[in-house]
């Protein structure tokens, strides 16, 4: 490792964010290089200065009480008043019916926010897989090697198909963690672009059509089919990624 590499990685080192190999490399360099070693000491001085200095603002004492009060009010407003005169029932009954319809819709209305959170997670996983030189746990283009590898690591069996003939060779598989659960990640390649296909059981039998979103320059497609949720993430252009998605969907259709 040279000084330039060390400078680029020094923050990751100070923060304990490097992998073991890089960690050892930079430690080795710091032992040998007085300049970088001084730079590292400065980093530590600064970091300890911030951490131990009087810079953490604690909430004022009565803020919690005020928040609790406004929360109570909000909760009450949502729950509605409890005691009502009898004549009110003639109006209340239709209103209650309307409320039930609204409440039944709430999960669907809030759907996008859950999807948004998930989209963020999927992008992070995708980016991380490309950063840490840890793209595949099982690097293999053979679907018959990749699929059995997941057995015993997951409590479901993801469909694995090589799509090399269609221009999307399978690179390998990886165990990942999305949506608070271990998931299968399949890695495909299109020229110089990588595609991460995340798969996990949807927990319901109903299929959900394909949706797409792009964020931070990445394109995402996601859908639910035959009890499995799929998220495809890549920096590949939307049209080609969609082509990939259709291939996957055709492969995972029940064979007629």
């Amino acid at each position: 490792m040279n000084c330039k590499d060390a400078q680029n990685l020094i923050n990751g080192y100070v923060d304990g964010e490097l992998d073991l190999v890089r960690n050892l490399e930079i430690e080795h360099h710091l032992q040998e290089c007085a300049l970088c070693s001084q730079g590292y000491k400065n980093h530590q001085v600064l970091r300890n200065g911030i951490k131990t200095g009087p810079f953490y603002f604690k909430a004022p004492v009565d803020l919690q009480r005020r928040i609790q009060l406004s929360l109570r009010k909000a909760a009450k407003a949502e729950a509605g008043p409890r005691v009502l005169p009898k004549w009110w029932l003639t109006i209340a009954a239709p209103m209650a019916a309307a409320a039930i319809v609204v409440l039944a819709l709430v999960p669907f209305l809030r759907g996008p926010s859950a999807d948004d959170l998930l989209a963020g997670e999927v992008i992070s996983s995708h980016v991380r897989s490309l950063m840490a030189t840890h793209l595949a746990d099982v690097p293999s283009s053979d679907q018959h090697t990749v699929k059995p590898w997941f057995a015993g690591k997951l409590n479901f069996s993801p469909p694995v198909e090589d799509l090399a003939r269609q221009g999307f060779p399978l690179i390998g598989g990886r165990l990942d963690y999305v949506d608070n659960r271990p998931v299968a990640a399949l890695i495909y390649q299109r020229q110089k672009h990588f595609i991460n296909l995340f798969i996990w059981p949807s927990g319901s039998d109903s299929d959900v059509g394909t949706k797409t979103v792009s964020r931070q320059g990445y394109n995402l497609f996601y859908w639910t089919k035959s009890g499995m949720t799929y998220w495809a993430a890549s920096d590949l252009n939307s049209a080609e990624l969609q082509e990939f998605v259709q291939l996957v969907q055709n492969q995972t259709s029940p064979k007629s």
Partner: protein, 174 residues
């Protein structure tokens, strides 16, 4: 879920992170009254969307909402603060390692450090606060701020370089 149970569960999981919420809001708004308003509003929002909370890290979830609330407010009230980004070219990390001065912090420097932190552009201030005061990992910060993990690292690098420069300059003057 009944409203009362929902409130009880919310108070149990989210309310304990009040200090973290206030600390972040205080650093983002740089004003104690604005920070209190932001935290109150963020808590109401969080309660409203509590159903979307997946029950892992309440602090990270709450701080995401606090941050968004603060940014909305900054956009409306102090738009210039979020548009004055650090120019990457001008403030590129100068190879300080080629001639590093020795940095030593004395207690008298705390005031200077606080001012230096305050003067950082908000996008850089927030990663320092989330990393060094809250102890979040790069990945967690990336999720809260909604930027790639690599950007977390480069923002931290630039922010720290700037702070070191400010402190070293002070050292030269003394």
């Amino acid at each position: 879920m009944r409203e009362k149970d929902r409130l009880a569960r919310f108070e149990q999981t989210i309310l304990p992170h009040l200090d973290a919420a206030y600390n972040l809001a205080r650093w983002l708004t740089r004003d104690e009254h604005d920070a209190e308003d932001m935290v109150q509003e963020a808590y109401l929002r969080a309660f409203k969307f509590f159903n979307a909370f997946r029950g892992v890290d309440g602090r990270a979830w709450l701080l995401t909402i606090v941050r968004n609330t603060c940014y909305t407010w900054l956009q409306q009230n102090r738009a210039h603060e979020i548009t004055t980004m650090f120019d990457e070219e001008i403030h590129s990390v100068d190879s300080d390692a080629s001639n590093p001065a020795t940095l030593a912090l004395q207690s008298a420097d705390q005031q200077i450090l606080r001012e230096a932190l305050d003067e950082l552009p908000v996008e850089f201030r927030e990663v320092v606060v989330l990393r060094d005061l809250e102890g979040f990992s790069y990945k967690e910060i990336a999720d809260i701020v909604n930027i790639p993990t690599g950007t977390v690292m480069s923002r931290l690098a630039r922010a720290r370089e700037r702070l070191k420069q400010l402190l070293c300059n002070r050292g030269d003057l003394a």
